[in-house]
Every structure is written in structure tokens, then in C-alpha cells.
Symmetry: C2
Subunit: 173 residues, 2 copies
């Protein structure tokens, strides 16, 4: 209902990858399945509406409409995941960081005109885990974007994008 939830995968040796962010009205969880190889953590303060599993399973089985919207959500997430695969596989560090800022800007609060500002829901370490980079590289790319005037940074977490088109041009995808 409010806040951001991150979906994580970890390797035995400790390397970690965030494989998805869930925003405001998204549904988190996997009906019909006992467990998955995924952990979900709140990235910010969040209000979550929880359903008991068997009740939910039953409701889904009985109402085709619900099942349909669940399918839609799954397909939306699938598209997002594949979009992100392109980012992880074929973007440079700079493009990756720009992509993340764009993702958050478009999914967070409603926008006003071309100028946008928002709070990062993630720490540098979490950003690194999302982008497949190190915190140092994330930090460097952020200052690079700042120095080139694409973004402004206030208090580490608050980002101001004077010109969204400029940011989108950094991604070019």
C-alpha cells in the first residue's frame, strides 16, 4: 500500500543480486507454491496488506477475474525482468545507474512536468546489488552524472532531475 519492497537472490558465497523492486499497489508473493528461492525485504518504511495463504489460494481458484489480474501482473513482472536483463547484460555502468534513476523516477510518486525529484529508496550497497556493480562504481557514476549536470543530489538520498529527457538520453534503450 505504501513503500518499496526489494526481491533478492543470494549466492552461497555471499554475492547478492536484487532481482526486482515492487512499488505501491503491486502484489508480492507466489500463490500455490510453498516456497521460492527468493527473499523479499522492505527497502523503505512500508505498509503491506497481508492475506492468509490458503484463503488467497482458494479465492484465486474460484474467481477467474482475480486469476486473470494475477496473470497480468506476472506478465508485467516478466517484461520488467527481461528489460532489466538487457540493462544488466548490455549497459555500461553509467547507463545502468541512469536506468535505475529512470526506473525509480517513473515508478515513484506521480510526476510534474519534465523536472522531477524523488528520494532513493535504496542505499548505495543496494543499488550496487541491483545493478551488478560495486558501491564504489555506483558512487563514481552518481558523481559523474552530478558533475555533468544531469542530476543534482541533496543529502545523499534525494535526487533532482532537471530534465528527464536528458536522463533518458543517457540510457538510449
Amino acid at each position: 500500500m505504501r513503500g518499496v519492497v526489494k526481491l533478492c537472490k543470494v549466492m552461497p558465497d555471499g554475492r547478492q543480486q536484487i532481482v526486482g523492486l515492487q512499488f505501491a499497489p503491486d502484489f508480492v508473493g507466489r500463490p500455490f507454491v510453498r516456497e521460492s528461492m527468493l527473499s523479499a525485504q522492505a527497502a523503505t518504511d512500508a505498509e503491506i496488506c497481508v492475506f492468509p495463504r490458503d484463503l488467497l489460494d482458494r479465492m484465486i481458484s474460484e474467481t477467474p477475474k482475480l486469476q486473470r489480474s494475477l496473470l497480468d501482473q506476472a506478465l508485467k513482472e516478466l517484461d520488467a525482468a527481461r528489460e532489466w536483463m538487457l540493462t544488466l547484460g548490455r549497459h555500461t555502468a553509467e547507463e545502468k545507474v541512469a536506468s535505475l534513476l529512470h526506473l525509480i523516477a517513473t515508478h515513484a510518486e506521480p510526476q510534474t512536468a519534465t523536472t522531477t525529484s524523488f528520494d532513493l529508496p535504496l542505499s548505495r550497497a543496494e543499488i550496487a546489488d541491483f545493478l551488478g556493480l560495486t558501491i564504489e562504481t555506483v558512487s563514481r557514476q552518481l558523481t559523474k552524472l552530478r558533475k555533468s549536470g544531469v542530476i543534482r543530489i541533496e543529502n545523499f538520498r534525494h535526487i533532482i532531475v532537471p530534465d528527464m529527457d536528458e536522463l533518458e538520453r543517457m540510457i538510449s534503450a
Copy 2:
């Protein structure tokens, strides 16, 4: 029904990423949606069973069982996509190549004991696009795996894995 289909995304500047491989009885396509930002190409000779879109849409709407299996397939693909995000983001080149071999080995023909052999459905260039690497790096990692005895290569495309456990150990995830 037979063969391998690859799902591709391309960037305006030509960089390309393969975001999924579909094997034998998988369903390819997106019901209810006119178009998606994805192209599907046969990677090998393939036999495909095609349904007319409106017929399929209608059938799905009317049979909850079909809708359910479609949901299952979507969730399966979502898991696979996220698994691959971990590979793209946090694995080294060597681990990536090993992961691909493992993926193909486990999805291709049924297996015999620990020794496995199969034909690569992808060219070096396609492998590179799947793993987010260059063809040169792919080639180098393959020879590295060959020289270390984890795999044998016959005629460029045919791979023999003497010991599956050994291959899995290269991935460690």
C-alpha cells in the same frame, strides 16, 4: 514441439541481448496483447504449433484450467528470468559460460547418468548475446573449460560433459 527458440531484445544502437530460451513444449507468445518489445527467432530447426490469436484468446478466457497453466508457465519463466539476472549481474565470464552449458544440458534431451553430451543450439555470437559478453570472451572461456577438462568440444558445436557435478561446481549458485 521440437527445437529451440530464442527471445531477443535489441537496443537502438544495435547492442543485443537474448532474454530467454524456449525449449520443447514451452508456449511462446503473449495472449491478449497485440505486440511486445520482443522478437522470437528459431535458434535451430524447429517445429512449432501455431494457434490463431483470437481463437486462443477466447479459449483461454473460457477455460480456467488453461488460464491456470498459462499462469504457471509465466511464473516459471519469471523465475528463470530472475535466475538469469543473477547470472548476468554477479557471475564472472567463466561462471556465465558454465551456467549456459548447464542450462542447455538440463533442458535439452533427457540425460544419462552423470556423463552428458549435447549440441549447442546457439552460435558463439548468440551465446555472447545471451551472456552479455563478446564472442571472443566466450571462445576463450570455452577453451579454458576444455583445457581444464570440464568439457570436451567436437566440431565446435557438440559438447561433452564427462562429469556434470564438476560443471555445477563451476557455477556455485
